[in-house]
Symmetry: C2
Subunit: 227 residues, 2 copies
């Protein structure tokens, strides 16, 4: 209902825009906030795109999420971070995350595919200058690698903070895209003798390998043995 206090709370979905409505396979698109968050949170790296001298650049980078904001960090000398600091009001970026879940082998070459979940974020990257927001962002970046880890490590000191640039990208123009399910062969191909089906990809963790110089008595923390 218009005018109620509820109207300021984020809705359950991102509003679609010209850039986030796909030209094809629109049935695979989703704007669901929870789904977008889950896809983002499961990824270790994103691919950050920006324009330099008129041509596109796509770089893999770590990121963190705090609510509806993504943070990317790096050396103050790195290109996208320096360019963000120099851009006014900010640097147009596209940040994309993809999980490959299964190989989809069809009887026809044409219908080969993969099952995947991706999120594409369009937005403007802004330099984070507020020291408190910068600390929150850096904690989120570490906790994105392993949940709870920021509390079990030495926080950044002044020198490290000064050497680190952080940029923020708000989750506003966002879409997810997914392919799930089985093989979509043409009816006339079903009798062909080629094997068809899914090859699911398995992801997991191998046994953690402690640094040789660990302080005596340092044990593997629970948040790692539970992985």
């Amino acid at each position: 209902m218009q005018g109620t206090t509820q109207s300021t709370a984020p809705s359950d979905a991102y509003p679609p825009t010209d850039r986030t409505v796909p030209t094809r396979s629109a049935d695979r698109a989703s704007y669901d906030r929870e789904l977008v968050h889950a896809i983002l949170d499961e990824a270790y790296v994103c691919h950050l795109g920006f324009v330099r001298d008129g041509t596109p650049v796509v770089l893999p980078t770590l990121f963190g999420r705090v609510g509806e904001t993504l943070y990317v960090h790096g050396s103050t000398g790195s290109r996208p971070l320096r360019m963000t600091g120099e851009a006014d009001p900010g640097l147009p970026v596209c940040l994309t995350v993809t999980h490959v879940d299964a190989l989809v082998l069809a009887r026809s070459a044409f219908h080969h595919s993969i099952n995947y979940r991706s999120v594409v974020v369009h937005g403007i990257a802004y330099d984070v200058t507020d020291p408190e927001e910068k600390r929150t962002a850096l904690d989120a970046l570490v906790d994105h690698v392993v949940a709870g880890r920021s509390r079990d490590s030495r926080p950044a000191n002044k020198k490290e903070l000064a050497a680190t640039a952080v940029i923020r990208i708000d989750l506003a123009e966002v879409s997810a895209k997914l392919r799930t399910g089985g093989v979509n062969d043409e009816p006339e191909d079903l009798a062909l003798p080629h094997w068809a089906g899914l090859v699911p990809l398995r992801k997991g963790y191998a046994t953690p390998v402690g640094d040789p110089g660990l302080a005596p008595g340092t044990e593997l923390p629970g948040y790692l043995s539970d992985l």
Copy 2:
């Protein structure tokens, strides 16, 4: 030696350019052709960046490699493929592939990282119009999903070929970037009580799931049971 016929053969490394020499961590960069090929071939999707209306777009997509050429395909209606067909002489793109190999947990938040291998390709995407090159490219795309699979599926028919656009990007301006090895903590942090080390990521395949409508007697092919 200049002037010999050998000089036309590709060298073992891509020549570095302004765009492929990183502004930092230059020791992590490599231009080795074999290494670049191996990183590309191990990836199921790449992230393709291009510029649309002045802003960056990054989309995940399947790809294939034939020697020093990458191929990306899609519906003739998809944006980057349509834009390539309309661009003269072609569409500037950046194609990036990343593997995450391990989480690197340091005693200090600052030195948290990941071990990764990435390849960044800068180039111009050209529409593939030659029918023979298009077929070769489509085979490479299927064989990139599972080696040898193109021979064990129905090839694209005329209608499917007409509905599929293929673009080519030559491997010329290319770099790999890698982080390997252990934790790089500051000497004064080594006695801290925080666990530090690597958490290697494990990747593999689950048991293939056959399509319910497989023709009677269709067995799982060797190239899948060997995965």
